[in-house]
Symmetry: C2
Subunit: 340 residues, 2 copies
Amino acid sequence: MKKKITLKQIARELDVSVSTVSKALRDSIEISEDTRQKIKAFAKLYNYKPNNIALSLKNRKSKTIGVIIPEIVHHFFTTVISGIEQVANEKGYHVIICMSNNSFDKEVINMELLANGSTDGFILSVAKETQQKQDYHHLTEVINQGMPLVMFDRVIEEIECDKVIIDDLNATKKAVQRLIDLNCKKIGLITTVDYVSVGKLRTDGYVQALRENKISVNPDIILKVEDFDNSEEEIQAFLIGKELDGLFAVNEHFAIYAIKAFLNQGLKVPEDVSVIGFTNGELSRQFIPSLTTVSQHGVEMGAKAATLLIKKLESEEGVEEPYETITIETSLIERNSTKR
Amino acid sequence: MKKKITLKQIARELDVSVSTVSKALRDSIEISEDTRQKIKAFAKLYNYKPNNIALSLKNRKSKTIGVIIPEIVHHFFTTVISGIEQVANEKGYHVIICMSNNSFDKEVINMELLANGSTDGFILSVAKETQQKQDYHHLTEVINQGMPLVMFDRVIEEIECDKVIIDDLNATKKAVQRLIDLNCKKIGLITTVDYVSVGKLRTDGYVQALRENKISVNPDIILKVEDFDNSEEEIQAFLIGKELDGLFAVNEHFAIYAIKAFLNQGLKVPEDVSVIGFTNGELSRQFIPSLTTVSQHGVEMGAKAATLLIKKLESEEGVEEPYETITIETSLIERNSTKR
DNA sequence: TTGTAAGCGTTATCAA
DNA sequence: TTGATAACGCTTACAA
């Protein structure tokens, strides 16, 4: 078991100074061809790799991006991460991922941990609990310290930073409009409680779509799910006797639960009732009937977020660039839960 | 924008030495109550947090576990990560996750990156490509440098390190036995190519189960999928005219694709053909019919892997503890793709 | 062409 | 009770 070798050890072995070794390995012209060769050969032999920690400390940057997401067990987030990774790796950055598990405390802890030198900037989608508590001190703190922060998907209006979002409101509006065009008369909504920013926006989109078509909004056919864990039963119970012919759900799980409930009631999807969901995950693709859904283009979102962050990281010190909010286009993927 | 404050700055402001500040903040009894109070108040005011990078360099450890997984877009891995996080956080470790995307090169790069100081040890499930190439130099190197490595799920026999696996062979055997007990006479298998270690083991389990029941193994009803991306079509084509009354698939996707193919052929599941899959993911739960499947208990696996790693990390220097291989119990979750 | 020394932020040892 | 110094591994300005 041979421990990692350091510059110092190489220097000692070859009887030169540490700086000579350092320079030689970085191909400095200061060093003679001879010594350079010798040192490089030796370093190669012993498989020398510079210590990242030391480099980070010296350069005061880690070339690392910290990503904090509410839950990894969610297809959308995994696609975003892919996008982040692609861009980051291309630009020589390293990505580390932490989960908040939708807990405020864990979000704070993770941020503080990473903020203390491990990371040059953050890409973050806030925890549900944080949106509920509306306590953003950890975010402002990080920003104040000069660490760039890019928020995506679940963003916080009041915080000034770069943001990558989708146009939740209009995406929903378009989806609901599609249901209306399909001749649905009684369109239900399954959404989340209002403090979840995207849930709220999607609810608004639903309402607007109806209004624009002079359809009155009936609160009886709107369900705001509080607790994801019991949502299946809740949705099942909610849908009894509602006689809907259309339904929009703010994520794919709610949509699938709804379809199941309809099927249980002996209804046919899409013949009797058309269903559109949100998030183009595995479930949407594989379920029978496959789910018509709003695709959020997670990879693109991640890529954009990483691009924004790296731009900030590499901008001249002091040159204050304005914050951007980028909206990613969504698309409606039509499958078999809606009529053609 | 106030940058992070350092010990040095506090020292300068309060006109004491850096070491006094350091000691005061760590509640050293060497420092008088008075100065200690003063320093602590000041530090609090300026929200001092020690720089992790500096600490890592000084202590030559990062209190960080590096996790490298083939693909995050896979429910099983996300559950493993949850397990790792739970144990790690409990013991004061930080988890950073990197993806190899099943690429050998990326696995190597990520490991080298993390190995250079960022991480004290690794938890890893090897990339498919690595298993294929059988090039393990990056793994042995890390081990030789004295960094503990725990492999899980897709492990490599030849590498000596702690391992956490499930008993793929017997889990499969039990599942296939269940099909046999259900009176299935012609049981097909959809598996991966043999270089994927778990695929091979599951294939072996299938073969053994048949043999033990004196059923001859018919290669015509065994499909070894090479390319995940086209697997749906491949499976569909394969299943034509096979007249199976039972099927075992080595993951939930293959199982679902198979069910779809059967349904397309006008067959009923489970009435005409019973299907059992592997991995208890969202798809298994939600699909209609819901899938009878082997649950791998990912959380438990992750927890165990983290426990093993931390044990190694915290064992006395030089005390060579033997490597362990821990087998996690699987369970067969019976749902609606098999008869009751 | 090579080496010395300072510094990144921290802690530990020893001296004052 | 406090402070100076060295060290972790590396880079770089400056000196030799």
